[in-house]
Subunit: 289 residues, 4 copies
Amino acid sequence: MHVTWLSSVTAILQFICPDRPGLVSQLSGWIANHAGNIHHADHHIDAGAGLFLSRIEWELEGFALTRKLITPSVNNLVEGLGGKAHLYFSDEQPRVAIFVSKQNHCLLDLLWRYKSGELPMQIPLIISNHQDLEQICTNFGIPFKYIPIVPKKKSASEKEILSLLKEYKIELVVLAKYMQILSGDFLSKFGTVINIHHSFLPAFKGAQPYHRAWDRGVKLIGATAHYVTEDLDDGPIIEQTIAYVSHRDEVEDLIRKGRDTERIALARALRLYLRRQVIVYRGRTAIFA
Amino acid sequence: MHVTWLSSVTAILQFICPDRPGLVSQLSGWIANHAGNIHHADHHIDAGAGLFLSRIEWELEGFALTRKLITPSVNNLVEGLGGKAHLYFSDEQPRVAIFVSKQNHCLLDLLWRYKSGELPMQIPLIISNHQDLEQICTNFGIPFKYIPIVPKKKSASEKEILSLLKEYKIELVVLAKYMQILSGDFLSKFGTVINIHHSFLPAFKGAQPYHRAWDRGVKLIGATAHYVTEDLDDGPIIEQTIAYVSHRDEVEDLIRKGRDTERIALARALRLYLRRQVIVYRGRTAIFA
Amino acid sequence: MHVTWLSSVTAILQFICPDRPGLVSQLSGWIANHAGNIHHADHHIDAGAGLFLSRIEWELEGFALTRKLITPSVNNLVEGLGGKAHLYFSDEQPRVAIFVSKQNHCLLDLLWRYKSGELPMQIPLIISNHQDLEQICTNFGIPFKYIPIVPKKKSASEKEILSLLKEYKIELVVLAKYMQILSGDFLSKFGTVINIHHSFLPAFKGAQPYHRAWDRGVKLIGATAHYVTEDLDDGPIIEQTIAYVSHRDEVEDLIRKGRDTERIALARALRLYLRRQVIVYRGRTAIFA
Amino acid sequence: MHVTWLSSVTAILQFICPDRPGLVSQLSGWIANHAGNIHHADHHIDAGAGLFLSRIEWELEGFALTRKLITPSVNNLVEGLGGKAHLYFSDEQPRVAIFVSKQNHCLLDLLWRYKSGELPMQIPLIISNHQDLEQICTNFGIPFKYIPIVPKKKSASEKEILSLLKEYKIELVVLAKYMQILSGDFLSKFGTVINIHHSFLPAFKGAQPYHRAWDRGVKLIGATAHYVTEDLDDGPIIEQTIAYVSHRDEVEDLIRKGRDTERIALARALRLYLRRQVIVYRGRTAIFA
């Protein structure tokens, strides 16, 4: 018999500070002092940067502090350690907006995983610059907003989007084959965006990576799920997957094979995010999985 | 600049006990109380078994206890927690005996990795039931003992081997394509043995897995590095690797492709062992890598 | 510019006979004599069995024989060579019945790939022993037949199924997580059935492979798409995929990770079948991809 | 029983010409007309380029033409078809010179595979710009030439190397971690050079790819075996391999893991070359494996 203990509600602390002795003890001591039972604790030292990163997950049941009291107590602890922290509760599922254009493979894959329970999130909103995928969203009962992007009015469209993200209390935007570039201004106002790029970055940044991969005659193609930053395709990488190709594969075959790697890289990255297993720092990620 | 902090000497504690709140805090608190700087701390809860497993590694430099005093202090701690523990020091490299027969690919691979610094161990002894590989061992300056195994005198040969393992203070035996089955009696006297089996276990246990894989028409072959137990090929698995094959591959091609998967699975498993990243329990392994 | 020549209609010949000199020349000569332009020609010699296998695909446009005249001409050729052959036309898409039970991941994946053009087939019929997935099929506009299987009336149910397969002119049955065992009697009457088994066969034949994989402590799991024969899980293997797992993965994680490998193995195998790239012989497959 | 028919001597024809109907028939017809038994025949049409590529391998035993007469007959055939061809005999093993600098992992791997029969070649010569690996070569009984490269005298050193390649009748140069760039002048005089680059090209061309991969925070690293052209790291790709990495991996770990991918990519590419399975055209390769 395998116990499904993960179904119990947990608190999750992501913590980062300059490395020094005693940090694990201080973090776990705070939990023990409040009778917390740790489910998962993992730490990483980036020696080059002199940084200590930690992710600790513990049961709320039996914990001495109520949910409301945890936050000030954590803040107190973190301040004392001179670090930065995020606190999450496993039953407060992130509110995620998915952005799409015309291609449906990533969207359908995410919706299927969402329905099957693989992705612990809420999807209050799907936004697209095209109307092609509206029916799919309607079938799943998810509000679909059509916001076309025309070059001269891009700024207005982005404002409209930002307003929706605020209205729907969105925490994370997932670009599931959204074929528009978000402006630096947009990103400065809403910064938590995950994209799927159809190459193993940093190879083939930018447009038409499969065509360029074919032209180069590579023997493998890939996909990269990464945080979006103002520098195109240069954001912190969360997950990368690859597929082997041969001289028999035309560009269309690369596109077809690529869809599977894109779906899997994006789904894995999103799941890692949703379970609070990703810590971003200094342009890179630590994955506590 | 990337700091090679791993070159500093560390102590490594492997710990296992029934799960309950406070264990991480108690272990890390003990280290913090002695001014230890944790390099790596990782824990696992096997919820079905109700067990807590932990591996903690910390710097010896600056630690308040001398090496001699650590052991009784750890024993005291562990006893108080009702668990079992192993304590290691990173500069006390395990003494490993490699057993071989006629095939040289795993032996040469291990020796190359050993020379290149990938495998932190000592190799005081290589034992074989054939003389084919003696020259290789001599070239590397490693004592080679030829101990033939004949059916009627197997027991005497195993006694001779056990005597050598004792004499050379061997901690681990690695079967690098040793085509003999160690008896239950042998294993009861020397139990820490890692083997490489040329299939993805539990498929194709026993003899001639590549021939049987070909006959079955599989599309992938594999290799499994595992601890040896009296039940043939049923011991705890440390590492598994695979290679794709096609209908064009003859048995000889499976054998050729398989050599690469064998070399890599065995080398990875051995490195995990040597770095004290493997905890064996209940017929399985937890890998803290 | 990449020419999409595959969109032209082709004839595909699968051929098998005892190996001897001149076979490639005789097959390709027959095509050349009728002004055929070969798109793809691939051959394999199973030296142990003394067999020659071939797959040749050529353009119908410009071919000297009309579609009706090709068959007798091919029969004549094949008879002269003492072999067996199958002839297909790329625009005559196979009629496939999908069998399901309660799990939807393989079904949805196949339907999505079907809609996206990855799987050149017709799906006139979906059969299930449960009603859970009826809505999905209805949404896709595909007739859904609910045929429950109760132990004492299994024979009658299978007759009903056979009758439907005949009525709908089904060429291939795909078991997309159909949790029933087809009887030998059924298979003797309808033999072309592809199944997805959730392990890398021959490991973990039969029921609950993920639970048994967890119990065994394997470091990788897999999925196998294979032809169904009366010997359970012993039919010719078409495709196998794997996923890495760790001690942190519970049985539910193996099931979750396994769904992806199942979806991909089944989709690949089906695509190979539909493009007439699979030749089955002597309990195994040759894949001309 | 598995017949090792590959041990028989074969002729191998690599052929390339503009695509048109009848080519397979004409090539295989020529073989059949001389009573040849084809072991392997594979073709590829690059539709975008309008090119037909073919590799045919047939037994010499029983072939109507003696080895001396095959060449003029092939030339006649090829000229009539307006194509280009290369003819090889499987028992005439290529003469390969290996170039190395200080790192030994690729060299030792190639030498081991050579000794074990995986790589059907002769190695009459190893050249290095350092003396570090001389002993290894001497142990294997292979002539080692130390030709240091100093910036101002590079041209003279390359002349010396070219002279050696001529003297030793070298067909192929393998750069097994040779840390020098061959000049365009050198390559114009000796053009068949295979290199191993330690990244999945086109990512991280040039120097220190592992350091740059670490800085970029990638989740996978790779190696690329490719033909050398004057444009650095832009030559036709033969083989690519990858390894997964995590935030826990320091640069040294990337280098360590990378060694395995480098060894395997280079060994595979070399084996493909030696078996005449690689056709290079238009800056890319077709692999007939």
